[in-house]
Symmetry: C2
């Protein structure tokens, strides 16, 4: 991870953000605020039109005034033309299908940047792997952005830091420059695997912490779950080749703590409602936005099983999501089983 250094900006740099959900919209505003001409692609023509007319995304980020320079479109060809940075912010499990429709439109030398935090069901691939495969580009052309970045707080221009990870440090530095503002400070890092595993697993751990909260447990129990959740995330990431120190940083501990502390997190909120005894389908129905952790819990468990890494908290979240155990059975199991096996030095 290198310090932030001012860097000459190419005149032609331009970004497109595919996906006008909460984070895609908030991050498009960051790019504009950093001086990068940016287009936001929305699936629905009405939403793109409304963003252009009102400078507000009433569906996903109501109450936040978007930069005047931010243009929205529902035409992917128009959005992608001349883009130096192609930022992908669609639901993880739809990435493959969406990206396949866009690959012919993307400039040949663009850097593809993932804002997504999930693991693909069926393939257990990380988002950057799906991107490299579908777009048929080398890993050096794919970056990921992660960190303690609750979208609504960033849209309100509250101070936040993030990690831009890419095998190609120059590419990471170029993207870093394109999205640095006085309130948003990204750092570069070459640990793509650790950055993505930290981001994907924290959504699942946040569900577990939310369940404890929904059951009325306090900060001692929640802090123990966060501690042991980060330990199992680091164990999985390290088995996949990540640098263990990534999990002590912004994309590991930082992102996990922000998510578990916030009422703004959908994953945390799903967990709270599960802990209060509501069935999953009742919770998800009225949610316009996807709780990534619900789907990713299955794929992360599959990934961990393939690599023989025990992830007891994630495994128990899967059992609740499947309806095999209740949250109180799970917390009882974790409090006896996992505590027994905890080793600080393992």
């Amino acid at each position: 991870m290198t310090a932030l250094a001012p860097r000459a900006r190419h005149r032609a740099e331009r970004a497109v953000v595919f996906g006008a959900g909460t984070w895609g919209t908030a991050f498009a505003a960051v790019l504009c605020d950093a001086g990068t001409p940016t287009t936001l692609w929305a699936r629905r023509e009405e939403l793109a039109g409304a963003i252009n007319d009102k400078h507000e995304n009433l569906d996903y980020l109501p109450g936040v005034r978007l930069p005047d320079g931010l243009l929205a479109t529902h035409d992917p060809a128009e959005a992608a033309s001349d883009a130096t940075f192609v930022v992908l912010a669609v639901p993880s499990q739809t990435l493959r299908v969406n990206l396949a429709a866009w690959t012919g439109l993307l400039p040949a030398d663009a850097l593809l940047v993932s804002l997504m935090k999930g693991i693909e069901l069926g393939t257990t691939k990380r988002m950057s792997e799906v991107i490299a495969e579908v777009a048929d580009v080398p890993a050096q052309r794919v970056a990921v952005l992660s960190g303690p970045n609750l979208a609504k707080e960033i849209a309100e221009k509250q101070p936040a830091a993030a990690v831009v990870a890419c095998d190609d440090e120059d590419a990471a530095a170029a993207f870093q420059t394109s999205c640095t503002t006085p309130y948003f400070r990204p750092y570069t890092n070459t640990d793509v695997v650790g950055t993505e595993i930290g981001g994907a697993a924290k959504n699942v751990i946040a569900i577990a912490v939310g369940m404890a909260e929904g059951m009325g447990l306090g900060d001692n129990s929640k802090a123990s779950l966060i501690t042991r959740g980060l330990a199992e995330t680091a164990r999985l990431g390290t088995a996949l080749g990540a640098n263990p120190m990534t999990f002590a940083g912004l994309a590991g501990l930082g992102d996990l703590v922000a998510t578990c502390g916030s009422p703004l997190s959908r994953n945390h909120s799903v967990g709270v409602q599960l802990g209060q005894g509501r069935p999953l389908h009742d919770i998800q129905q009225p949610m316009r936005m996807v709780a990534e952790g619900v789907k990713s819990s299955e794929s992360i468990l599959e990934l961990a099983t393939k690599h023989d890494v025990p992830v007891p908290i994630i495994e128990h979240v899967v059992k609740v999501v499947r309806g095999e155990l209740t949250p109180s059975q799970v917390l009882r199991a974790l409090m006896s089983r996992d505590l027994k096996s905890e080793r600080l030095d393992a």
Copy 2:
């Protein structure tokens, strides 16, 4: 850190807890619930009498029914006689004076256990060092207990885990047995330095996180402060000989997250009020209980300076406590300066 193993209990095991504040009282109840005959020493005769009469500590833990078997006394000789475990839970900066008055009363082979989280002003000694020096016992006779242990939640018997650290693993295991209950699970560890530094520094980091909260900043900023605060704590601890992994565990990350998340923490609450612009002397006056972090911030900074370890967050808390900087000046400084220097791999 070893797994919890059932252990034969000596028939004569008996504990005394010196200090009937919130944590001393709550922990005395844990010992009783674990089946260890326990006496609670209170400075004031009225408080000891009220605890014996009402089975409640109205001053420090109102609303919590204490075990019938818990005896309180204000006579230190009566309290200490025949104790196998002498548990010390007085304000950190009063430990030296208090303990000096009791040393003649303590059984020769007792294990002295610190519940305190602070660094002595003037000497920059950890609590276990002060104990060994004043009681004139080897380090093997001194243990420390730490972890995500908000006293009120433990008094309500909510599930919590903790760390018992001692150079002598058998001594740690004996004390572990004496305080294990279905809701309180201690683990043993031989890293006394890391356990104590984690506990002392987190009170100061919690003040910084509280300041951010009091200024209206959200979970992204708080999570960044927690991440970087733990990194500087680990840097200091490692320089003093601690195992860096201790900071990723219950006595590091776990304790820090519980404290920073909780409205029950005095240190966190002092920070929130500082962040809202109240001067320190206005905050401390009505507080019956001490916010350890206010005093320890100075001694931890002195310790870090002695060992040439940069601790920017702790240093800035000291400047606010001294009235040299306002919380908003401090957060501005941290957001520019510290972010620039952050290295995940450092």
